[in-house]
């Protein structure tokens, strides 16, 4: 393969552009059949963005309905379907694949100096399995009414019509995609690291993807079998979960949360990884307590399996198990706290640049701390009795999922955007959007804490008059938030036409995707497999690495390489 490709002729002279993964094969087939992890990552990114958009619009409809008491724009049945679909799509089609499958796929193999993931074809298969899951989910939605909430609690769900069967199959299939991605990543991280890249030198994003993958592999099969059993309950009435047949609905909740609690760590761990990378880069400082931050991800991954019962304190499970689950729930706060405090410590005496990705990282620190601390409040047995199934819980999980994961994903997206597309986005627009999102988010969801602890139940189409004022503020906030998100998305998309060309290492980062690949990277990532001789955040070596003032430490340039690309 040649290193350059003729992209056009100008007055007889052929102008060459460096080959990169985007321009080396532009055919549709080149995308649909690709096994290149970078292209697969982008395909995921596009798909989950659509899911996010649709689910986000549903959320806006939900908020609009709640703007005033009684009927505002839709009837109760529609409302119930809307919040269910919002939850289901956000969780299964957006947030779980978002960071690992989209950004992780793109970045992780490069960060470990590999040419690709261990099983590239499996990677593509995972993508298509995910798409099939998505299509089934959409079919279920079109076929009829799904208003179970995202939790599918029996016996309500097992007595509903056929659409539930589609949705359970969709969740089952999307789960498989998640398992295969996790499996692929674990093997990749174990077996494909570049020479010299020891476990102590792994970027923290890789560590967090690793921990996430463990959870994906261990937890997801259980949602699979849960969905199979639910399917059977509906189809054959096997009486495992339906009390009318002697089954136990609380057992279903155990099955569901055995997956879905660890799943919240599938959502947040990759976000932790992004935040570590962002704070390191934009503070230009070694991440404090690297080992603690790295290992706490793994600790969280394992502890995450021991606490699922905290969703069931008032379900009628035994008091003994509530107590055990509550105790273990607190323990999760500790490794998480270690992370948060180390991130703050990293900023200490750093050289902090408040560019867009860093603004998202700082928002994350604030919002996630609120979300996490309120999570601990929910873990307090008797307090949860009052707060369970109120808007306090809704606010808690939006603070961790939207304020945590989605904000981190946006930060990561802005950070790696130049690498993925070769274009810089507009910085001013990016910063304004980040601030708007932060404000809109807090207006939307902080009010929900207040109304929740005052007794506003969740999944309510209509509410008592005393809550109207909170709902109004929350709805207004959600529109601010939406404007911010559309601005951010617009800024990124506009960069395709208006963006400046990105250099290899615009942020002066030290991880391999910045120092050893061009923007966008070569189809095989590296011209030469890199040999790693230092840690990912060794900014004290910066003078040496960055060279003369103004240098960015990249050992490859966007100019065509003189070496022929080796296969």
């Amino acid at each position: 393969m040649s290193a350059t490709q003729t992209v056009g002729t100008e007055s007889g002279r052929s102008v060459s552009a460096p080959v990169n993964y985007l321009n080396h094969d532009k055919s549709i087939k080149g995308w649909l059949y690709t096994v290149d992890h970078k292209r697969i990552g982008l395909m995921y990114l596009a798909t989950v963005s659509i899911a996010f958009l649709v689910a986000g619009l549903l959320a806006l409809a939900v908020r609009t309905e709640l703007f005033s008491q009684g009927r505002t724009i839709m009837d109760a049945d529609t409302y119930n379907q809307f919040f269910s679909l919002h939850g289901i799509m956000m969780v299964f089609l957006f947030i779980i694949p978002s960071i690992p499958a989209a950004l992780g796929n793109f970045v992780m193999p490069i960060q470990i100096g590999a040419k690709d993931v261990a099983f590239p074809r499996l990677n593509l298969a995972s993508y298509y399995i995910f798409v099939i899951g998505g299509v089934l989910a959409v079919t279920g939605i079109l076929v009829g009414q799904i208003d179970t909430g995202w939790t599918f609690y029996t016996p309500y769900s097992s007595r509903l019509g056929a659409p539930v069967l589609f949705l359970t199959s969709a969740v089952f299939i999307a789960g498989f995609s998640s398992i295969l991605t996790g499996l692929n990543f674990i093997v990749t991280i174990h077996k494909m690291r570049a020479p010299g890249l020891t476990w102590n030198r792994l970027p923290l994003f890789v560590w967090s993807i690793y921990a996430t993958s463990i959870v994906q592999v261990l937890a997801t099969p259980v949602i699979g079998i849960t969905m199979v059993l639910l399917f059977m309950e509906k189809a054959l009435q096997i009486g495992i979960f339906d009390p009318a047949l002697g089954g136990d609905p609380v057992l279903f909740q155990h099955f569901f949360w055995f997956y879905s609690h660890p799943a919240v760590y599938i959502m947040i761990l990759p976000a932790f990884g992004i935040i570590s990378d962002l704070i390191g880069t934009f503070s230009r400082h070694e991440v404090q307590g690297y080992k603690f931050v790295a290992l706490s991800s793994v600790a969280i991954a394992f502890l995450g399996f021991l606490v699922w019962g905290h969703h069931m304190f008032v379900s009628g499970q035994s008091v003994v198990s509530s107590i055990i689950f509550s105790l273990l729930t607190y323990l999760i706060g500790i490794p998480t706290g270690v992370k948060v405090l180390n991130w703050v410590g990293t900023m200490y005496k750093g050289s902090i640049s408040l560019q867009t990705p860093m603004l998202y990282a700082l928002s994350f620190l604030i919002l996630f701390t609120i979300g996490g601390l309120t999570g601990v409040m929910l873990g307090v047995l008797s307090v949860d009795v009052h707060l369970h199934d109120t808007y306090f819980v809704v606010a808690h999980f939006h603070y961790v999922m939207m304020g945590g994961t989605v904000i981190a994903a946006l930060g990561g997206l802005h950070y790696w955007w130049p690498k993925m597309t070769g274009k810089m986005y507009n910085e001013t627009n990016g910063r304004i959007a980040a601030v708007l999102i932060f404000i809109g988010f807090n207006v939307t969801f902080f009010t929900q804490f207040i109304m929740g602890s005052k007794g506003m139940p969740r999944r309510y189409y209509d509410y008592l008059p005393e809550f109207e004022i909170y709902h109004m503020i929350s709805t207004i906030g959600s529109f601010l938030l939406a404007i911010g998100l559309f601005m951010a998305a617009g800024g990124l998309i506009a960069s395709f036409w208006r963006g400046k060309k990105a250099t290899s290492n615009p942020w002066k980062s030290l991880t391999l995707e910045w120092t050893h690949t061009t923007s966008p990277p070569d189809p095989h990532n590296f011209h030469h497999t890199p040999i790693v001789t230092r840690g990912p955040y060794d900014y004290h070596l910066a003078p040496e690495i960055f060279g003369e003032p103004g240098g960015d430490g990249a050992v490859v340039s966007a100019q065509p390489d003189t070496d022929p690309v080796q296969q």
């Binding site: 016996p155 230009r284 107590i323 008797s382 307090v383 199934d389 007794g455 999944r459 309510y460």
Partner: protein, 310 residues
């Protein structure tokens, strides 16, 4: 019912509330302190150490073992305190006093039915004596529901085919909301009720009282709200789950099988007692069959009430 609570919590109406509130505020203030510390540090560092020059290279900060240990140990101690407290009050929540007054509760889509020890029943509104522990023994006839009284800080899921219970001791006379907090279908948000706390004498009198002395239409109006007809049927013409009762009497109604009928007394009674017999066109066959046990007094009262809605 004005807003008599604190900024965070609703008014407190049971003996359990104060203890739980102090635990809530204890964890809340710890969280505030931690949160403020983190936020202030973030903001101060972001300003103080902002990048002044593109080639700034900050100094190495060596890991502080003491700090690293401190933020493992201190939170651990804090959470253990909170755990012990929470766990003890949880046990209290689940230990009804032996002399508690027991009321049976049946939850169904989408209403609450109560049966008092003397056989008296009520729907929607739960009447209890003040300053006396009350224990509710609950079950559901269809799907999961959850019994929640914010002012009492109690909540318990209601499960079909199993009894679950909550207890509380109301400390002040008045009316408090009952909400259903487990998603149970279309009218989940309409599955409301009130706890009416009365003095011991009023409660006894209420318990013994009959309803025979009311005018039929008046009694019908009571049933209309008590039996939650209002959840599905409006009297002002709005379309809810079922057809409006406004102008129903004498109206020509078309059914899903194409036949029609003019609504007279018999038709209305049949609609209530045997709702599946004729399904009104354009509506789901969604009317519960639980009203078949109405006696003739109740039916006459409802018919009288519906006749008035013209």
């Amino acid at each position: 019912m004005g807003d008599k609570g604190t900024f965070w919590l609703p008014e407190s109406g049971s003996t359990l509330s104060p203890g739980l509130d102090s635990l809530f505020y204890f964890t809340y203030w710890i969280s505030v302190v931690i949160f403020v510390a983190v936020t202030v540090a973030v903001i101060v560092f972001a300003i103080k150490y902002r990048r002044r020059n593109d080639s700034d290279i900050p100094p190495i900060v060596h890991e502080n073992k003491l700090l690293e240990t401190a933020w493992i140990v201190v939170p651990t101690i804090l959470v253990l305190i909170v755990f012990t407290w929470g766990f003890r009050s949880f046990l209290k929540l689940h230990s009804p006093p032996a002399n508690a007054y027991e009321i049976q509760v049946t939850a169904k889509q989408w209403l609450w039915d109560y049966t008092y020890p003397n056989g008296k029943t009520s729907t929607g509104d739960l009447v209890v004596p003040v300053d006396r522990p009350v224990r509710l023994v609950m079950t559901s006839t269809d799907v999961l529901h959850s019994f929640f009284v914010p002012a009492f800080r109690v909540k318990q899921d209601v499960v079909p085919n199993r009894y679950s219970s909550v207890w509380f001791e109301a400390t002040g006379q008045g009316e408090y909301h009952i909400l259903c907090t487990e998603y149970c279908g279309t009218q989940h948000s309409g599955m409301l009720g009130s706890v009416i706390v009365q003095s011991a004498e009023d409660f006894d009198a209420w318990l013994q009282s009959g309803v025979e002395d009311m005018a039929p239409a008046e009694y019908g109006a009571l049933l209309y709200t008590q039996q939650n007809c209002n959840v599905c049927h409006s009297v002002d013409g709005t379309r809810l789950v079922g057809p409006t009762l406004l102008g129903l009497f004498g109206r020509q109604t078309t059914f899903t099988d194409g036949t029609t009928a003019v609504a007279d007394e018999n038709y209305i009674m049949e609609s209530i007692v045997n709702p599946m017999a004729k399904i009104v066109e354009g509506y789901p066959p969604g009317m519960p069959t639980i009203y078949s046990s109405f006696d003739s007094d109740q039916l006459n009262a409802l018919v009288a009430f519906i006749k008035e809605q013209q």
